[in-house]
């Protein structure tokens, strides 16, 4: 923006004076005073529709009530949100909205986080004078792969239509029919199948649009939201994990202007399903009859790994100890692997690439790992998988430590040949993979949602991953076992908690050295020399 300070205007809302930038609408102006002007169709990231009429306010010198969403603050304007005129209009709108609404809150997924329900309590009269027949619409309309539509709950606010027109530019939805038969639907031959379709359910103020993968699963008041970030790609969208009874039931976007505004893609929204479907690794395993199948104590794993790595380093030289780091791992974990490899005398650390499709114009990145930037910055990634496999084959690498990667599963026969050339393979992962099964030592890691950590997104913003679940069985974040083993090879003391681990990792990276976890807060911090993009 070229202008440094926008023009300010001072107005009065409910007898309180407030100064806001010119162009601010009355809903936002009132919000700065802590005054709620109720609304359904208005959404700060969509165009103004002005159709719900819930935000009608009484403005001095204007004969009619005005809608606050489309009225810009003007100098000296006197706005009353609680005058008889405004209250009567608002109660009217509430009553009108409810005459054809099914009032099926007890079986509606939106109940508990329904704006219509909330405003009915706050701004309605508590009763209805309507005694007639409600207009009936289709109730279970399949709009696309993830979204189901209930035409009777819909209040025609058109947020979903505007989202598809203005945010995704995919134009699947429109209004059809007229009067109280007006209904939202997909245009002929179209499906609501854009990559962000779940966001229509987020912005739906009522239970008209629901996500198939969540509907009927949980009452929302049982869910506890954990403010975290999505691990599905290099964007790192800010999300809430909806958790109950040790399970993530849904992921919803959390506003962050610098990262994802108010949106997430459908793939990210449903990414928790992976964690529920995979076979978890809960115990340390050691090899028995050609595979890691025998359980052992985690501490025994540390001892065994330290002893073997030390022995190989003595016998063949420290340079034969290498690692595979991961963009799926946190900054602390990546730094932990680097520390272990270096303690053993090695330096070679490969970073597998996980790219799919293309970057899109909104959020989606083709890099499907959340922390590629961290792997380079803190994890010391310095070679490709191809280089590493070659080095193994020619005997330059004899011991390999793998962090959150399944290279045997992904690189096929070539990798299996390499496995045969290794004297020692240790894998740290949250699930049982082909690599885990072929390891000499496998150590269990906590999964997404079970641990703290930090990720650096493609913009160079470092953000916190937060736990809402208890770590599975004997799992830990990888920095713990990695540094336990490193300490047995002469490394420093192991951090006692996440904050200490973060401080330890940050202190080793100039770009991070000034940071501490409280400073990252809920929205992260842009690094001074980001890898790319804005912050």
């Amino acid at each position: 923006m070229a202008d440094s300070t926008p023009e300010q205007v001072t107005l009065t809302i409910d007898s309180q004076s407030v100064t806001v930038p010119a162009g601010t609408n009355l809903i936002e102006a009132a919000r700065t005073l802590g005054i709620e002007i109720p609304h359904f169709c208005y959404h700060p990231r969509l165009s103004i529709a002005g159709n719900c009429r819930m935000c009608l306010v009484d403005i001095e010198k204007m004969p009619k009530n005005q809608i606050a969403c489309s009225t810009k603050a003007a100098p000296g304007m006197i706005v009353r949100t609680r005058s008889d005129k405004a209250v009567k209009a608002r109660q009217g709108v509430m009553e009108f909205l409810l005459i054809n609404h099914p009032l099926d809150c007890p079986i509606c997924d939106q109940a508990g986080e329904c704006v219509l329900q909330d405003f009915s309590y706050h701004y309605g009269t508590g009763g209805s004078r309507f005694e007639g027949q409600k207009v009936h619409h289709d109730k279970n309309v399949d709009l696309g792969p993830h979204i189901v539509f209930d035409g009777e709950r819909c209040i025609k606010c058109t947020r979903c239509i505007r989202f598809c027109d203005e945010v995704t530019h995919t134009h699947e939805l429109g209004l059809f029919s007229r009067g109280d038969h007006t209904i939202i639907g997909t245009f002929p031959g179209k499906e609501l199948d854009n990559a962000y379709s779940g966001c229509t359910a987020d912005i739906c103020p009522v239970g008209a649009l629901t996500v198939k993968e969540f509907r009927f699963k949980q009452r929302v008041w049982f869910l506890r939201n954990t403010a975290s970030i999505c691990a599905g790609c290099a964007r790192g969208c800010n999300v809430n994990l909806g958790i109950n009874e040790e399970r993530i039931w849904r992921i919803t976007p959390r506003d962050n202007d610098a990262v994802n505004q108010s949106w997430i893609c459908d793939e990210g929204r449903l990414s928790f399903q992976i964690y529920q479907q995979a076979e978890r690794l809960g115990r340390a395993l050691t090899s028995s009859a050609g595979g890691a199948t025998k359980e052992m104590l985690v501490a025994s794993g540390y001892e065994q790994a330290a002893a073997t790595l030390g022995e190989i380093a003595r016998k063949h030289g420290g340079a034969t100890v290498a690692g595979i780091t991961s963009g799926h791992a946190t900054v602390e974990e990546q730094a932990g692997l680097k520390e272990l490899i270096e303690r053993a005398g090695g330096s070679r650390i490969a970073l597998p690439v996980h790219e799919r499709g293309d970057d899109d114009a909104l959020l989606i990145r083709r890099d499907k790992t959340a922390n590629t930037v961290g792997a380079r910055l803190a994890g010391g990634a310095n070679c490709t998988m191809e280089d590493l496999l070659t080095a193994i084959k020619i005997g330059k690498v004899r011991a390999l430590v793998v962090l959150r990667e399944d290279f045997l599963g992904e690189f096929g026969a070539e990798a299996m040949t390499a496995r045969g050339a290794l004297d020692f393979l240790m894998t740290l992962d949250w699930r049982v993979t082909a690599t885990v099964k072929a390891s000499d030592v496998a150590l269990p890691l906590s999964a997404y949602g079970e641990m703290d950590g930090s990720f650096i997104n493609f913009q160079g913003r470092i953000q916190l991953l937060r736990p809402g679940l208890t770590p599975y069985e004997e799992s830990d974040p990888a920095w713990k076992p990695l540094l336990e083993i490193a300490s047995r090879l002469g490394g420093a003391a192991v951090p006692k908690n996440f904050r200490e681990a973060f401080r330890w990792a940050a202190s080793r990276v100039p770009e991070l050295s000034h940071l501490d976890t409280p400073a990252l807060g809920k929205f992260g911090v842009s690094l001074e020399s980001p890898a790319s993009g804005q912050g």
């Binding site: 103004i48 529709a49 002005g50 159709n51 719900c52 009429r53 819930m54 009608l56 004969p63 009619k64 009530n65 809608i67 489309s70 009567k88 209009a89 109660q91 009217g92 709108v93 009553e95 009108f96 909205l97 005459i99 054809n100 004078r129 309507f130 007639g132 027949q133 207009v135 209040i155 025609k156 429109g174 209004l175 029919s177 007229r178 009067g179 109280d180 038969h181 007006t182």
Partner: protein, 431 residues
């Protein structure tokens, strides 16, 4: 001049043979005003004449036409004039007559108006059901273009003006100017939020003025005869000739042209032949199309102009005069109207979308004798909640008659509650 001596100005050609042809129109002196305007007057002079004439919009609101044009930005830059030929207010059929019988008058007025505001591409938005008027206008535009009365350098003046005719799909709401613009742009016909007003952001985002057919048909007259002559017709601030649409229980329903300000009763009893049946006295008159408050028989001594009817608590509106004799059940009449508005509400904003259907349900039970006394106040209260709280005037257009009918004829509504039948005695079926 008494109205008996009045010679029609707007309808002067409609009974001429072949009145829709260019040759007939020219024989009657047509297109002289256009020639005068584009050759002898500047656009500003035309605009000033229209302002000085006192011409007020004939579509319903009665807003001064010259002032409306004055809201458009001056000077070069794309802007549009749109002719609102979506006449659809129940009880109104005047624009249709002009287009069917004298399309070149409408066209000449439109071309002069385009010249006045500096519009080089005018759009005519015509109601979908008006198939004949549409064909007639299409032919008229072709004739005019062939005669260099439209298109490039009209009559060699250097003024270009293309005309495009667009047919709507038959929605009442598309008579509302911003819904009309949406429809004209190919979108669903729903009113826009105002501000911005069309004069700033109208058709395709450009400054636009939307004018009614009859309004525009007055413009050649003003240019030809001068604004002071024109302003001498009618009454102060309510100047010019006016088309009145008489329907309902009169002997001679039809379109009548008289100056603004003719007494309503003269219109009904002298010109429209009086009431249909001698045995049935006048009950009420809806003076300005279905959206306006009703006048009971004892309040019908009014003059038919904008300000007089406003003073009487109603509106001239579209001058669709619907005459009701005492065979009409007012509950049934209001139910009929409410059904129309419930059907025509665009569905965009809450009070109108939900309120119209609610009105219908209440009126249906009253009509069936299943209502109760509280329904009367409920109807009035719903009108309070709708009127003034909607995006466009359609909400007002239904709330106003509901409030007026229930207030003026409350006893009849109460009778329906108390006796479960009509107070009105229906007329016997015609023999």
């Amino acid at each position: 001049m008494t109205s008996q001596e009045y010679r029609p100005l707007l309808l002067k050609n409609i009974h001429r043979p072949d009145s829709t042809s260019l040759s007939a129109y020219r024989e009657s002196g047509g297109y002289k005003a256009l020639e005068r305007a584009v050759k002898e007057m500047t656009p500003e002079q035309v605009l000033e004449e229209v302002k000085a004439s006192g011409l007020r919009g004939r579509g319903g609101a009665g807003f001064p036409t010259g002032m409306k044009w004055g809201f458009l930005p001056k000077g070069p830059g794309e802007k549009y004039l749109v002719l609102n030929a979506d006449e659809s207010e129940p009880g109104t059929f005047k624009d249709r007559l002009l287009m069917e019988r004298d399309p070149h008058l409408v066209l000449e007025g439109f071309l002069i108006s385009c010249y006045a505001v500096g519009c080089t591409h005018g759009y005519i938005y015509i109601r979908g059901e008006f198939v004949d008027p549409w064909r007639i206008l299409l032919k008229a535009v072709e004739e005019a273009r062939a005669a260099n009365l439209a298109g490039k350098s009209i009559l060699g003046s250097g003024f270009d003006c293309e005309i495009t005719i667009y047919r709507g799909a038959g929605a009442y709401i598309c008579g509302e100017e911003t819904a009309l613009l949406e429809s004209l742009e190919g979108k669903r016909g729903m009113p826009r939020l105002k501000p911005p007003f069309p004069a700033q952001v109208g058709l395709y985002g450009k400054p636009t003025s939307v004018n009614n057919v009859e309004t525009i048909a007055n413009v050649p007259l003003i240019v030809e005869m001068g604004s002071s002559w024109y302003a001498g017709i009618g009454r102060p601030k309510n100047t010019g000739p006016k088309l009145y649409c008489l329907s309902g229980h009169v002997r001679k329903p039809g379109v009548y042209e008289f100056p603004l300000g003719i007494p309503l009763k003269e219109l009904i009893f002298e010109h429209a032949g009086g009431l249909l049946r001698e045995t049935r006295p006048l009950k009420a008159v809806i003076p300005g199309g279905s959206s306006v408050p009703i006048l009971p028989a004892d309040k019908c001594d009014v003059l038919m102009d904008f300000d007089s009817l406003a003073a009487a608590g109603t509106m001239l509106g579209s001058a669709g005069v619907i005459v009701l004799d005492d065979s009409v059940c007012i509950v049934d009449a209001l139910l009929n109207l409410a059904r129309f508005y419930a059907h025509e509400s665009c569905g965009q904003c809450t009070p109108c979308r939900e309120g119209c259907g609610w009105y219908v349900q209440i009126l249906e039970r009253l009509e069936k004798g299943e209502g109760r006394s509280s329904d009367l106040d409920l109807l009035l209260d719903l009108s309070d909640r709708i009127q003034g709280n909607t995006i466009c005037p359609l909400g007002d257009a239904v709330a106003m008659p509901v409030r007026s009918y229930v207030t003026v004829f409350r006893n009849e509504f109460q009778y329906h509650v108390d006796h479960k039948k009509c107070l009105a005695e229906p007329a016997p079926a015609p023999v």
